[in-house]
Structures are given as C-alpha cells and as structure tokens.
Amino acid sequence: VITLDEVARLANVSRGTVDRVIHGRGRVSKETAKRVKAIIKQVNYKPNILARSLSLARTFNFGVLLPYANQDGNYWLLPRHGVERARRDLEVYKVSVSYVEYDKYSLSSFNAACDEILENRGDFDGLLIAPVLSEAMAKFIKRIPANLPYVFFDSDLPNAQSLTYIGEDSRQSGVLAARLMRLSVHKSGTIATVRVVPRNDHIDERIQGFTKGLLGDERLKLKVYECDRQADPDIFSKIFSRIIEEQGEKLQGLFVPMATVAPFARALRGLGLSDDVSLIGYDLTEENAQCVRDGSIRFLICQRSEYQGYESVNSLFRHIVLNQPVETRKFVPLDIITRENIDYHME
C-alpha cells in the first residue's frame, strides 16, 4: 500500500503539501498541485481516512444557512432534523455544524445572516444553503470565497458553483401534482393556485409544471392568485376568501405549491367544502399531517426534507473529509402522501 510519505517523496514535496492538495485547502502552486495529483493517480494512492481523522485531530465545522425553524408552518424543522442526525452520525469524525438563521420574509434579516457567515468564514469548512430568496441569494453566492465549498438543498440556483444540489425536481413535482388533481377531480370547473411574492424560482417552477400538467384537460381551468406575504402576514385567509367569492361552486381543486397548506385546509373545512374541493399541497409539517388525517388535504407531495438535510451534510463530509467524488445533483423522490400511508412517513 502506498503511503502519504511515498507520494511526497515521488513528488519531491513535503507531506503537508500533499495533504493540502488532497484537501484542496491552503496555498499550493498550480504546478505543484498538478504534479502531486498526477502522482496520486499514477500510484493509485488512497488516503486512509480513518487513520487521518484519528491522528490529525482535525475538526470540521459546517455552517447551515436557512430560514427560522418556525416559518412556513414549522417546515424548516424537517431538514434540520436530518442535519442533526448526520451530525450525530459524524461526530466521531469530529464534524460539527453551526446554524445561521434568518427571517425569510425580511431582506435585512437575510443580509445580516449572510454578513455573519462571511465575517466568520474562517470558522467554516463548508456551507449548507437553502437558497429560498432567489435574487438576494444569487448576490450572496458571489461573495463566498472560492475555497469554501457549499451545497444547496431545498431548491437550486442555476449558474452557481455549488458542490451539489440535493432536493426535488420542482417542475416535475408540479406535473405530478397536476396528475393527482386530474385524477381526483371528477367534474369540470376551476382549479385555483396561489403564488406568493416576492417570487421564488422553486415555487414558480412548481406552478409552471402544474400548468403544463393540466393542459389537455379541457374540463379544468387554472386560475393563479398572487399574494404578497411580505406586506401582509394575514394574506392567506384573505386570498382564500377571494377565491371562494370569485369561483363559488365552480371551484373543484386548490393547489398550494408550498408548505403553508393547513390554513387553506382549515378554511375549506370551515365551509364544509373538504369533500367537494380537492386540496393538494406540499410537505409533512405537523399541521399539514393533521389535515391529511382528517381528510381536508387530499394529497401532500413530500420532498424528503429530513433526508435533504442529512445528505447535504453527508455530501460535504464526503467531499471535504473523505475526498470522495460527489454527484453534482441529487433529485429526491417525490413522495405522495395521503391518509392511508401518512403514519409511516412521519417517523
């Protein structure tokens, strides 16, 4: 078996230099890095990870940038559970995580969180990012130092240099929702959907997929309602009233392309419309789960939120600590949840 020493000797550099090249950290001249990499490949050197993490006593800290756990009906607790599980699994490799949270409906809160990360960038070996505020996030990404790897989960940002993306194919999840809507609505009429501003690419793609999926079904007409959540925290109940007022008995289905589904379910139930209007939404938050159980939400589409958190940490770990290749994009399965299979998905 080839050792680090031998690689160093063959490349005529120090052990430290070989180590820096393997980890992609610190300063190494391009020429040296190239030579070391060629030799590693030539002699088929495989770093002994276990020995390394034991002997170097090196610690690894990953920063997690995400919205407050209690936003979107406590949705953000779900990926966090996965991050925590990975942290426990990887504790023995001296991996730790630090959360930096923000209010997703406040730009200044988001910017403050970004500044906090950049000011303390020396403390992080990698970042996990849920890029919910598409525009502001794109600006932040540009300021991340080149030697700090980051992983996107929840949603993707095109043209970013992320190590990987772990989450759903948003457009396809909209297509799936449309199929379920077409199957579960038996009469002709209107399907309503809500779009929150400020707009978010990920949610927009779900709506685009949904629109595409409904095409060709002449029975159903789609109507999109926009609502500004930033300006009015109570906007959902107002928009619901407007939908009912405008559509009346024509309303056959309601597609909520985000985690805040329960308020719509409760409102439908309040009017005794749960059996007549097929409500399809996203994510297994506690309150959504309750509405699936009482029948007021017909289907939920779930994007394995817990797994997203777990796998994001794991990908960074594999890249930074184990120096293993990581898939550049990992789409999670789109789970369909209804009353009869919800219990097993909750664990």
Partner: protein, 349 residues
Amino acid sequence: VATIADIAEAAGVSRGTVDRVLHNRGKVSAKNAERIRAAITNLDYKPNIFARGLSLSKVLRFGVLIPESRADMSYFSLPAQGIEKAQKELIGYQVKIDYYYYDYFSDMQEQKVCQQLLDSIDRLDGLIIVPALSRLAENFVRQIPPGFPYVFIDTHLPDTHCLSSIRTSPRQSGKLAARLMDMLIHQPGTVAVIRGLPENFLINDRVCGFREYFEGNPRIKTEVFDADRTLDRTIFAIITRKIVSGIGDLRGIFVPSSTTHLVAETLDELKVKGKVLLIGYDLTAMNVRCLKDDSIDFLISQRPETQGYESVYTLYRHLILKEEVPADVELPLDIVVRENVDYYIKVAK
C-alpha cells in the same frame, strides 16, 4: 474514557474474555459474561469502533436466505441493491454476503439450501431472511442456534427470536390501494381483486385490508378472483379476460402482487386500457414499463432496497456498536405513478 483494560479489571477477567463478550465470539461462562456486561454498563464503556476498524479491518459475513428471482419474481432481486450500498458505506469493515436462494414455487417444507445454510452457519456473523414461504421459514428458524442474530425483511414471522423485522404493513397497504381506488373512481361499480398465491399470508393481508376499506361502502363492490399458486402468465390472462367480459360495471382491478404487469398486458390486448383503473405492487422492470405507457395507473412500493440496506445496518449495530435495535420496523408505503417513478428507480440504483 473507560477502556477494555478497565472493564477487565472491574470484572476480574482477562482482556481477551472482555473482547469475546463484546464480539459475541468464543466461549465465556454465563457468570463471567454477566459480570462483564455489568462492568460495561457501570463504566459506560463505548467501544472505539474506529480504532478497532483500523487494527482488525474486521470481516463481517452475513447469509441472505431469499427466493430465487426468476422471471416473475424479479422483485426479489431488489433488496440486494440496498445490501450492496450498505456494504460500500461501512468503511473499516469488510462486509461479505453469501446468498442462499430457495424456490418460491416448491411445496417442499425442506429445501436443500436451508440445510446448506445451517451447515455453514459457523462461518457467518448474522442472517437476513425473507420468510416468503412461511412453513419453510418457520422450520428453518427453529434450527438456528440460540443467540445467533437474524433479521427478517419483506415479511414478519410471529413467535420467533428474530433480532428485528423490516417490512411494510400489508393490511395497511391494501387499505391505501382501496383509498386510491375510491378517490379515483368516478361512478359506482365493481372492483375486481386478482389474488395470485391465495395461500400466501402477505398477499392475503393486502386483500383483507383492501376489502375492509370498502365494507359498508354503497358505491363500490369488491369481488375476489383466485389464481392458482404458480403466478402463471396464462392463468392471469384467463382470469383478466373473465373479469372484463363478466363484470358489466367494472371500474378497476387490484392486483396484490408484483405480477400486476400480466394484467396490464391483457387489458391492453382487450383495448380497455384507461377505462379500467389498475393498481398493483412493486417497481419491477416490467411493472415500471407498464406504468410509463399508462397501462398501470398506480404501483405501491415497499422500499425493498431500504429493507436490504437497513437489514445490514441492523446487524452491524447489534454486532459491532452493541446498540439496541428496534424489533419491528414498518417502512413507508410509496405511491408511485408515471410522474414520479424515475426518482424511485434512481434512488434504488
């Protein structure tokens, strides 16, 4: 931090004896084993698995007793994908798997393969068992030496000393299929159930759950048709034809086994595709193809890869990490349609 030496001292035994207890290997008197376990608990000893992995580069060898996955039983090739994934992940351990295949269609209570497995059990650290033929499996597990760890996947066998069973709930999956039928069928009518292998308790439980859901439902009637125990292509075709021509108000067909594609092919030939809703089980290659060309509407999947994956980890946690493992794990039931099938297949690979 407590070390093996500390435990040995506290229990008044040699380090080797502690090691044997930790690894469940070799002979240790019951009294000594008890004392050592008490010392481990008192001193809160946690084996340094990574140091050990380095020094021993230990081999874990597991036997897998599973039906042969020929033609229509290709479902049983799926758990192996998860087993392989776990093998790759457990760095520091060399996990070796020996497969022992039995014949799902043989009525014999004894099959040679079971004896072969029992003969070589000393070379193994644990077993993963698919107890699809319950009589065969019952007879087999009775002969496993006491204390030897084994895990069931796919189905559970009651009244055994299994370490854990990792599966989905068949009754609940029948109810789930019924709910989907109920939501998606527009007009009142009849749903036919084609029961292959009527004596198989897993399939039977699915049918029970399905019928239970529709009990007292004025809109939808259910009618059960039994295939014989061969899961034969011709027999499925004959039954499907009989159902289509015989039931005037046929709205859907439920197939509680992975042979759903056989029904799909016949419905296709009869040109009733799209008029009769078809719901079945498992993401075998043939079923996936039918799902994609719309001849199957819904498949329920029971995460066979996860079952395989978790079974390896369960044994690993028990043998190496000395953790308590859950006795019964019920995995999620996945609802799969054309629009989400690709992601399930990708995850499996």
